[in-house]
C-alpha cells in the first residue's frame, strides 16, 4: 500500500507530465502543484499587504501627519483589507492545504474536477492582480475601506470599480474551489472510508465548502449592484432615488459574516489534526468537533446584523442578532475543550506545529471573548468603529487563522517538500511572532475602549503611548515573520531529508512518501480503522 522509501518513485515535484519546464507548472492539473502555486502567490501577496500594514503603523506612530496624508492612509487601509481578506485569508487554507491534502487524506488521486481546479487558480491570480492594479490605474487607489459602504463607494472618485471587480473574480474562484471540494468529499473517498471515518480536516473543508458555495454569490451580486450604482445610477442604495444604503450593509454582511467562518473553519481543522499527532492519542470528541463545525457553518448565516448594531436597525433585530452571536460562540468553545482534552494524558512533543497550535488557542480565545463583548449590543455601541474592533478581528483572523496557518505549514512542510526545516529557528521565530503579535494588537483593545477610532490617520495625544507600543510590535512581528519564511526557504536546499512520517501521524498523508508521488498512492488504500487510530505499528514515527 504505502512505500516509506522515498527514493524509488518520482515525487510530484519531478514527475514528467504532458508539458515541460515552466508550463508543467502553469498548466498542471495536479492538485499538489496547484496547491504550491497558490502557496507561493499567498506568501508574496501576504508580504505586500503586511508591508502596507506596517506603513500604516509608521503613520500612526505619532499624532498628525507622520509620513502620509489622510487620502493615502485611507487608500492604504482599503487595499490592506482587500488583499488580506479576499486574496489571503479567505482563499489560502482551502486553496493550499485543502488542495494538497484533501484528496490524500481521503485516499483519492486528485480532486473531482482537476481542470476546474486550475481554472480556479487563474481566476484567483486575475482577481489578485486586478486588486493590485487598482492602486496604479487612472483615478487613484480606492479609499472606501474593504467594506465598500455606500454612499461613499458609489461616489468616491477613485478606482472603486477595479477593486469591486477584483473581489468579484476572487469570489468566483472561491465558489469553484468550494464546489470542487464538496464533490470530491462526496464522491472520491477511498473504499471503507465512510463519512464518519473521514479525518476532521476534510470535515472542516466540507463545512467551509458549503459556505463558499452558498454565501459567496450574494457578495457577487452585491458588488455588481454597486458597480451598477456607480456606472448606471441604478438607485438601489441611493436615498435620493428611493434606495436604501443600509440595504447594502445587509447584503454585504450576509456574505461577509459567513466569510469569516470560511476563514476559521479550515484553521480549526488544521489544529484538530495537529493535536492528536503531537499527543499521540486520538482526538477527543470526534463527533462533537464534527457537529460543532457544521453548527458554526449553519448558525454563522444568521448573525450578520451584529456588524450593524449602530446602523439603525430595529430593537428586535438587535436582540435577535446579539442572541445568535452569543450562540455561535458555543461550538467554538466546545472545540477548545476538545483540543485541550486531546492533549490531556497524551505523550506531548512540543514541536513547532504544536507550539503554533497552542498559541492559536490562546490568541483565538482572546479574539473570541472580545467578540462576545462586541456581540453585546450595549457594549458594542461604545466600541463600534474603534481600535477595539480592529484588535478583535486581528486576534481572531491573524492570531487564529494566521497562527493556525503557520502551524499547518510547519506540520505539513516535510510532506510537501521532502525536507525538514530547522527547529531552533522555527522556535525562535515563533517567540518573536508571538511577542510581536501581542505587542502590536493588545494595546489597541485598550486605546479602543478609551475612544481611539479606527480608520483614522490622526488621533488625540492621549492615545500615543498605545500607538507607539503597537507600532514597535508591528516591526517585531514582521521580523519574526521574515525569519520564519527564511527558515522555510533555506530548508528547501539545506534541510535534512524528511521521512514519510516524521511526527508519527496516523492520517493517510503520513503513509505515503515525502514528497508524495504524482498519483499519491500506488494502490488506493482500503480503510479499516477509525480516523485517529494510534493502535498498531503501521504508522510509527520514523526519524
Amino acid at each position: 500500500m504505502s512505500n516509506s522509501e522515498s527514493g524509488t518513485q518520482l515525487s510530484y515535484l519531478q514527475h514528467p507530465g504532458k508539458y515541460k519546464g515552466i508550463l508543467s507548472w502553469l498548466l498542471t492539473t495536479d492538485h499538489k502543484r496547484i496547491a504550491l502555486l497558490y502557496f507561493y502567490c499567498v506568501i508574496v501577496f501576504f508580504f505586500i499587504a503586511a508591508i502596507l500594514g506596517l506603513l500604516m503603523r509608521v503613520e500612526l506612530f505619532a499624532p498628525g501627519q507622520t509620513i502620509m496624508g489622510p487620502q493615502t492612509y485611507n487608500g492604504l487601509f482599503t487595499i490592506h483589507g482587500i488583499i488580506m481578506i479576499f486574496v489571503i485569508v479567505i482563499p489560502a487554507l482551502p486553496a493550499i492545504f485543502g488542495n494538497f491534502f484533501l484528496p490524500i487524506m481521503l485516499g483519492a488521486r486528485d480532486v473531482a474536477f482537476p481542470r476546474l481546479n486550475l481554472f480556479s487558480f487563474y481566476l484567483y491570480l486575475t482577481g489578485a492582480i486586478l486588486g493590485v492594479l487598482s492602486q496604479f490605474a487612472g483615478d487613484g487607489p480606492p479609499d472606501t475601506g474593504w467594506t465598500f459602504y455606500v454612499p461613499y463607494s458609489a461616489q468616491s472618485s477613485t478606482n472603486v470599480i477595479f477593486a469591486l471587480t477584483a473581489a468579484f473574480v476572487l469570489g468566483f474562484s472561491s465558489i469553484l474551489t468550494g464546489l470542487n471540494f464538496i464533490v470530491t468529499i462526496h464522491r472520491l473517498r477511498a473504499p471503507g472510508m465512510g463519512w464518519f471515518k473521514m479525518p476532521l480536516f476534510p470535515w472542516a473543508i466540507y463545512a467551509t465548502g458549503w459556505i463558499q458555495v452558498l454565501a459567496t454569490p450574494i457578495i457577487g451580486i452585491t458588488l455588481l449592484m454597486v458597480i451598477a450604482e456607480r456606472v448606471l445610477h441604478i438607485g438601489f442604495f441611493d436615498p435620493a432615488l428611493g434606495g436604501d444604503p443600509v440595504l447594502f450593509q445587509h447584503l454585504f454582511w450576509i456574505y461577509s459574516h459567513p466569510a469569516v467562518y470560511i476563514m476559521i473553519l479550515p484553521a480549526m481543522g488544521i489544529v484538530t489534526e495537529i493535536f492528536p499527532t503531537f499527543s499521540q492519542k486520538p482526538v477527543f470528541g470526534y463527533t462533537a468537533i464534527l457537529i460543532s463545525s457544521l453548527a458554526i457553518a449553519f448558525v454563522g448565516y444568521f448573525v450578520w446584523g451584529h456588524h450593524m448594531f449602530t446602523a439603525g436597525i430595529s430593537y428586535g433585530s438587535r436582540w435577535f442578532f446579539s442572541f445568535l452571536t452569543f450562540l455561535v460562540a458555543v461550538p467554538s468553545a466546545i472545540k477548545v475543550f476538545n483540543w485541550v482534552s486531546t492533549m490531556y494524558g497524551g505523550s506531548i512533543d512540543l514541536k513547532p506545529p504544536l507550539l503554533y497550535a497552542i498559541s492559536f488557542i490562546f490568541l483565538f480565545m482572546i479574539g473570541g471573548f472580545t467578540g462576545i463583548t462586541l456581540g453585546a449590543v450595549a457594549a458594542d455601541v461604545h466600541v463600534h468603529d474603534t481600535a477595539f474592533v480592529v484588535a478583535h478581528f486581528h486576534y481572531i483572523i491573524f492570531g487564529g487563522m494566521g497562527f493556525a496557518t503557520f502551524a499547518g505549514i510547519h506540520y505539513w512542510y516535510p510532506k510537501m517538500f521532502g525536507k525538514m526545516y530547522n527547529n531552533r529557528i522555527a522556535n525562535i521565530a515563533w517567540g518573536i511572532n508571538f511577542a510581536g503579535f501581542n505587542l502590536l494588537y493588545f494595546p489597541q483593545f485598550i486605546i479602543g475602549i478609551q475612544g481611539m477610532p479606527r480608520r483614522y490617520f490622526d488621533y488625540l495625544p492621549q492615545f500615543q503611548t498605545g500607538q507607539i507600543i503597537s507600532t514597535i510590535g508591528g516591526f517585531v512581528l514582521f521580523t519574526g515573520l521574515v525569519l520564519m519564511v527564511y527558515n522555510f526557504i533555506r530548508s528547501i536546499k539545506h534541510g535534512a531529508i524528511a521521512p514519510s512520517n516524521p511526527w508519527g501521524g496516523v492520517t493517510l498523508e503520513w503513509q505515503i512518501p515525502s514528497p508524495p508521488p504524482h498519483e499519491n498512492f500506488d494502490t488506493i488504500p482500503e480503510i479499516k480503522h477509525p480516523p485517529y487510530f494510534f493502535g498498531n505499528n503501521s504508522n510509527t514515527k520514523n526519524e
Binding site: 492539473t29 483519492a108 488521486r109 486528485d110 473531482a112 474536477f113 482537476p114 481542470r115 476546474l116 465558489i175 464546489l179 470542487n180 464538496i182 464533490v183 462526496h186 464522491r187 472520491l188 473517498r189 477511498a190 473504499p191 458555495v213 452558498l214 454565501a215 459567496t216 454569490p217 450574494i218 457577487g220 451580486i221 452585491t222 455588481l224 449592484m225 451598477a228 448606471l232 445610477h233 441604478i234 438607485g235 438601489f236 432615488l241 428611493g242 434606495g243 436604501d244 440595504l247 447584503l251 488506493i524
Partner: protein, 204 residues
C-alpha cells in the same frame, strides 16, 4: 459509493452532474440577491411597482416564457435522443433549442430598444422625474433581465459547443455528460425566467 479512477478525460457522470447541480445552486443565490432587493423595494413601493409594470408588454413576456419553456423541452428531448443513439434527431433538437433562445434574445432586444426610445433607462432624466418606486422598478427590470440575458447568451454558447461535439461524435450515447450538464444549465436559465416573468410583467 462508486470510486472511479480519477481520469479527467472520462469523468464519472454522477460526479459531473453533482458538480453542475452545486453550480446551479450558486446561480440561484446570485439571482436570489436581486430577488431580495426586489422584495424589499416592492414592499416599500407597492403602488409604484404596479404602475411601472404596466410599461412592460405582457404579451412579449408571455411569448418569451413560451419560447424558453419549449426550448427546455427540446433540450431535454435531445438528451433522450442521444441516449437512443439518434444523432441527427439530437442535433436537430439542440438546434431548435438554440433557435428558440435566439428568438428570446430578439424579443429582448426589441423590448429594451423600445424602453431606450422612451428614455426609460437607469440614469436618464425621464426616470429621475418618475416616482421613486417606479425608478427602482425599472432599475430592477434592467438589472434582472440583463443578468438573465447574459446567462442566456452563455447558454447559447454552451449549446453551440454541444452542436459541434455531437456532429463530430465526441458526444455519444456512452458519453453525453456535456450535453446533460448544458441541459441542466439551460433548465436553470428557464427557471429563473419563470420567476422573473410574473414578478416583472404580471403585477399590474
Amino acid at each position: 459509493m462508486t470510486h472511479p479512477d480519477n481520469n479527467s478525460d472520462h469523468m464519472d457522470s454522477q460526479t459531473g452532474k453533482f458538480g453542475m447541480w452545486i453550480f446551479l445552486f450558486t446561480e440561484l443565490f446570485l439571482f436570489g440577491g436581486l430577488f431580495l432587493v426586489y422584495a424589499v423595494f416592492r414592499a416599500n413601493y407597492s403602488e409604484d411597482f404596479h404602475k411601472a409594470a404596466r410599461e412592460l408588454n405582457a404579451f412579449i413576456g408571455t411569448l418569451n416564457t413560451v419560447f424558453l419553456l419549449v426550448s427546455s423541452m427540446t433540450v431535454a428531448m435531445s438528451l433522450t435522443a442521444i441516449q437512443k443513439k439518434q444523432k441527427n434527431l439530437a442535433l436537430f433538437l439542440v438546434l431548435t433549442t438554440l433557435f428558440l433562445a435566439a428568438l428570446f434574445m430578439l424579443n429582448k432586444y426589441f423590448e429594451w430598444s423600445h424602453k431606450f426610445h422612451f428614455k426609460l433607462y437607469p440614469g436618464s432624466e425621464v426616470l429621475k422625474n418618475l416616482a421613486r418606486g417606479e425608478l427602482l422598478f425599472f432599475g430592477l427590470y434592467f438589472m434582472m433581465t440583463g443578468l438573465h440575458a447574459l446567462h442566456v447568451l452563455v447558454g447559447m454558447v454552451l449549446l453551440s459547443i454541444n452542436i459541434v461535439k455531437i456532429q463530430t461524435r465526441r458526444i455519444t450515447s456512452q458519453n453525453y455528460l456535456l450535453l446533460e450538464n448544458s441541459a441542466l444549465y439551460w433548465h436553470l436559465v428557464d427557471l429563473i425566467w419563470i420567476f422573473l416573468f410574473p414578478l416583472l410583467y404580471l403585477i399590474t
